[in-house]
């Protein structure tokens, strides 16, 4: 089972929301679509689900071209950002409605819903309505519904964004385990890079309707192909130092080192983060962010250096790596 997008484009009027999109997600692979709001990641998801039709290109699921297939017949397991649970139905009825409209007999419905309820630890909530559930419980119901769809592809649209930070961290391993135990490809839309890195095998960074770079979290971190990706991936944000002949040098805050030689800096601000500390430094080449171990005592004025292999260089006008 896999998912392939070839040269997919969607426009509203004259404006292309996404264009020239090529993607391939393999069996059991989780791909995160990561980008700022308005970059086209949600549109891409809706195109895959069939909730929206592309103006050009083709979408193939499990070897079958589904570009013009209705969402009703696509076998997609989707978790909506809002969870989209049916408010007038109990949890049990929410889960069995899909089986019912697909013509599955009542006895089998009951049995399948019961087993998913057990898997998701939702048995006690079966007779409740969505309004009586917490955010985390709703998410589990939405996920249970996607599992019951017996889908060819899983699509998750910001499934964590309505949950508080603690719950998000708790749920990540659980969600990853559940979704990835199948052989289906998974598309995970998020604007949170931590979530993308935690959940996905590969990340596609999107910007203005195009894929800026696609690769493993490690590749994106160590080898960003553009200024945008370098700035978007990694927190605190990468340092950008304008250099001669239209080149921008980029060094991650964690790769700056104290040394006897190097750029002279003055400490303006210090944030203690537990195991590390974030330093904001003023230099004659602009503001710098530096991340170092929290035990180190930093004097008022220091000199900074970095090893050349940690340095990325980008073309200032095109933003591309050089």
């Amino acid at each position: 089972m896999n998912l392939v997008l070839q040269n997919v484009g969607r426009r509203f009027g004259r404006k292309w929301i996404v264009r020239h999109l090529d993607l391939e997600v393999g069996e059991g692979e989780c791909l995160a679509l990561l980008g700022p709001s308005g970059c086209g990641k949600s549109t891409t998801l809706r195109l895959i689900a069939g909730l929206d039709q592309p103006n050009e290109g083709s979408i193939t699921i499990a070897g079958e071209d589904v570009t013009t297939v209705s969402p009703v017949d696509r076998r997609i397991g989707m978790v909506f950002q809002s969870y989209a649970l049916f408010p007038h139905l109990t949890v049990f009825a929410n889960l069995s409605l899909g089986l019912q409209v697909r013509g599955i007999a009542a006895s089998e419905r009951k049995q399948r819903v019961a087993s998913v309820l057990a898997l998701m630890q939702l048995e006690d909530l079966a007779e409740r309505h969505p309004a009586e559930l917490s955010g985390g419980q709703r998410q589990r119901v939405a996920l249970a519904r996607a599992l019951l769809r017996d889908p060819l592809v899983y699509l998750l649209d910001e499934p964590m964004s309505n949950l508080d930070a603690q719950l998000r961290e708790d749920l990540r391993p659980q969600l990853r385990h559940l979704i990835l135990q199948g052989s289906q490809p998974v598309i995970y839309v998020t604007h949170d890079q931590h979530e993308a890195m935690a959940m996905a095998h590969r990340i596609a960074v999107m910007r203005d309707g195009k894929i800026e770079q696609i690769g493993t979290p490690q590749e994106l971190y160590h080898n960003p192909l553009s200024l945008f990706v370098a700035s978007f991936i990694g927190r605190p944000q990468i340092n950008l130092l304008p250099a001669e002949s239209g080149i921008i040098k980029a060094i991650r805050p964690e790769h700056l080192q104290l040394s006897s030689e190097g750029i002279p800096c003055r400490l303006v601000y210090r944030e203690w983060l537990g195991t590390s500390q974030l330093l904001i430094l003023e230099s004659n080449r602009g503001r710098l962010r530096m991340l170092c171990a929290s035990e180190i005592t930093i004097p008022e004025t220091i000199k900074l250096n970095w090893s050349p292999e940690k340095e990325h260089q980008f073309d200032a006008s095109s933003g591309e790596r050089c």
């Binding site: 989707m78 909506f80 989209a84 409605l97 899909g98 409209v101 769809r149």
Partner: protein, 288 residues
């Protein structure tokens, strides 16, 4: 103590609704007509006894219930269809939305007069048409068997937009996500009407049903202008009968009795409607 905030509204309702109701209930146990010199004299329920044996009252009760049930049912069915149509995206929807409100915005007397002319024999367009295709005149407004249907037409035309507006507002509260989720579950758009739309529209259906029942049970101006209650009293509503008792026969005591019984009838009708809707939601609950 948040209930305190309801006090102004409660006072207003007591003033314009409670007091007249009490006053009429009181009056219904009094003789108050030209014969008593328009002075209220207690008559120990004689009005209510008279009501029990008043054939005209029972005929009007039947007519009012028939008119209200048929026209409100038709209105709600049409309103659902119109609301669904106006909820879709299509070119010119805004204009049609505005136009569809026109019947409701028109004063009832004006449009009732319009319908009277439309149904007029022999000059109205309908009779002109029957004549053109060589049929006998229908005599719509002078045939006791069918005239009430003409008043139903007038009422449906006038008040469907109101119900449609409420239902349209209800449709717009249903998130699109739910339909998309339903489609991805393998549900066809037509099935969504019964699985998603109508269940979620239920509170709005109940609301417009109660509004419309209340109005239809008190129908007065439409009947007064269109038929004057005729022919042979076949379209006379309870409100019209109460009006006639007071204004033509100058019997205010009996008029109050008719009015209060009409009110009780409406309360019963609303209870029945509410119970039916509650019952059907229990069925749905059980079906799961």
């Amino acid at each position: 103590m948040i209930q305190l905030l309801l006090v102004p509204a409660a006072l207003l309702i007591a003033l314009v609704f409670g007091i007249p109701l009490l006053r009429y209930s009181w009056l219904s146990f009094h003789a108050d007509s030209v014969l008593t010199g328009l002075v209220a004299i207690p008559n120990h329920g004689a009005n209510w006894l008279r009501l029990l044996h008043d054939q005209r009252f029972w005929q009007d009760t039947y007519q009012t219930a028939r008119f209200a049930t048929v026209s409100v049912s038709l209105e709600l069915l049409l309103a659902i269809a119109i609301a669904l149509l106006l909820d879709q995206r299509w070119r010119g929807r805004g204009v049609v939305r505005a136009i569809s409100l026109l019947p409701w915005a028109l004063p009832t007397t004006v449009m009732a007069l319009g319908w009277r002319w439309i149904f007029n024999t022999p000059y109205g367009p309908i009779e002109q048409f029957t004549e053109l295709i060589g049929l006998q005149p229908l005599n719509i407004l002078s045939n006791p068997n069918i005239t009430w249907l003409a008043t139903v037409v007038g009422d449906v035309w006038k008040t469907t937009p109101f119900a449609a507006l409420i239902l349209l507002a209800g449709l717009q509260t249903i998130p699109n996500d739910l339909y998309e989720a339903f489609h991805l579950e393998g549900g066809h758009p037509r099935a969504a009407l019964f699985q998603i739309t109508l269940p979620l529209l239920q509170p709005y259906l109940l609301l417009s049903l109660l509004f419309r029942l209340a109005q239809a049970f008190g129908v007065f101006d439409l009947i007064q202008v269109m038929t004057g209650g005729g022919p042979a009293g076949s379209t006379e509503s309870l409100a019209l009968y109460a009006y006639l008792n007071a204004m033509r026969f100058l019997d205010f005591g009996y008029s109050a009795t008719v009015m209060i019984s009409g009110f009780l009838l409406l309360v019963i009708a609303c209870l029945i409607a509410w119970l039916i809707i509650k019952q059907t939601s229990h069925w749905r609950e059980a079906l799961k």
